[in-house]
Amino acid sequence: MDPTSLTPAIAIQNLNHYYGHGKLRKQILFEINLNIYPGEIVIMTGPSGSGKTTLLTLIGALRSVQEGSLKIFDQELGNTSPMQQVMIRREIGYIFQAHNLLRSLTAKQNVLMSLQLHSGSTAIEQQAEAILQKVGLGERIDYYPDHLSGGQKQRVAIARALASHPRLVLADEPTAALDKQSGRDVVELMQHLAKEQGCTILLVTHDNRILDIADRIIQMEDGCLIRNSNPMSTTLTGDRQTA
């Protein structure tokens, strides 16, 4: 199947972004053009201050688009109301550098916080338990974050992000606070669950040890997308399937 015939999960055209006002106004993103297709795992790298996180927060509807076009699932984010932004956020799973779990809630309750936003199924307790089983925390569903290791917490965060089957997962340095083995486990888990659910992943990282899970690596520098390293973009889907 030719991926270019699909509607991109993320479609960005001529995106510019600025911080500050007046004389202090500083351009952060310059003419970003990027398409990410459903099912792709894309890693974005680049030095700090290059605008990766800004781009990620724009894609995540956590920041308002100023100039250019940014479409998520064919919905333009340029002119969305705050309420529409909230609805788009619900379609996205976020994984943060710090796990950002709610300390007063158990692992299961943290996952439920995500699941209960998506009405429909009534068996959300079972769903939460099932996804925690999948991330290998079946024994610790009623543990509080304070009683979990760094890797375990990040796995709860992944369970929370993926529990509601989002079509897009955004991750910012998910392995930064983890040792080599836990980091590896965490990204493989993400990769595995994402393939299973067929969702798109955009992952920002400095961690060279995990670059191999990507279908495509893009690089940011000084607010520009300098490399869209996808030598076989036309055979992307086939390439990924043989990998």
């Binding site: 956590l62 909230v86 956020r89 007063s104 809630l105 309750q109 209960q116 910012d172």
Partner: protein
Amino acid sequence: MKRRVPLAWLQVSRERSRLLVAMAGIAFADMLMFMQLGFQTALYDSNTRMHRSLRADLVMVSPLARTMVSMSDFPRRRLYQALGFDGVAAVDPVYMESRPWRNPDTRKEEGILVLGFNPERSIFNLDGVNQNLQQLKLPDAVLFDQGSRGDYATTLAKLVEGQVVQTELNQRRLKLVGLFQVGASFAADGNVITSDQTFLRLFPDRQQSEVSAGLIRLKPGVDPLQVAQAMQTHLPNDVRILTLDQFAELEENYWKNNTPIGFIFSLGTAIGFVVGTVIVYQILSNDVADHLAEYATLKAMGYRDFYLLGIVFQEALILAVLGFIPGYGIAAILYSLTRGATNLPLFMTLGRITLVFMLTLIMCLISGAIATRKLRSADPADIF
């Protein structure tokens, strides 16, 4: 119905020490409000118990009358003039004077309110008085209020046994021959009821023709307000005609307006309210600050601001309820201790429980509203 994670409750209950501090603060504020409001009501109630025990539809007083311990006199013939009005069944003069007497137990001078009336027929709805009308006809015989404040234990014990206790007032001997129950007030530590004849002997400076108050009883079915208005119009303006309720209100208003007591208790209540608000605000704003990153995460996940506002307000309500319960309990204990120590009519009423609970809710909601301002700084774009 889908069960939701009770986030507010979990946040509040997870931090035990913070919860205990909050509960203690709110309980203290509630206790303060209960005590102040209780004292305020007790003040007014205790000062009108004697008024409400009078058998009268209308009361004639001097325009200068302010409270039962400072009534001012007016001519008794005004009362007899009142007898000529349509609808009036009977009139009775009452003499009142507040002086020190010698406490029979301690032999010390203590304040007492003396009321004199003609014992031919009772003007009080007091069993102790009505059963002892014959005794009161004897010279120097008085009845003593067993609710009086002070060291009267021996006297009361003797009177209960039926003995006669002797003491002095204005260097005249008088005999305590019986008991009745009204209770001490802020104005008078105790009450004594006697005949008009004994009263005039005790206070030679008082004259029979100058009375402190006149009790007017109306025939059945007559409108007291109408008669009062007619009397006020036709009688000289050296008297005022009040209904019994207005007479009690006169006393209440005196303590409300002409003394700082009412103001002090209102201020005390307000202080309790402010202290509670500050404490709850501190607790809630710390709580919001501690969970700011978590709240920003919830916003990123797609929770609306409205949900987070709801969490803070729910936390405020939970604290209000959890703090109110011990506050109520402590106040109830203090009420009974105070009642035992002072004979003040300090009772927990449903009205006051409701009022303090409402004040607690308002207190916590105000704190919650201020604390939610911090929520705005929870920006989901900052947590990446």
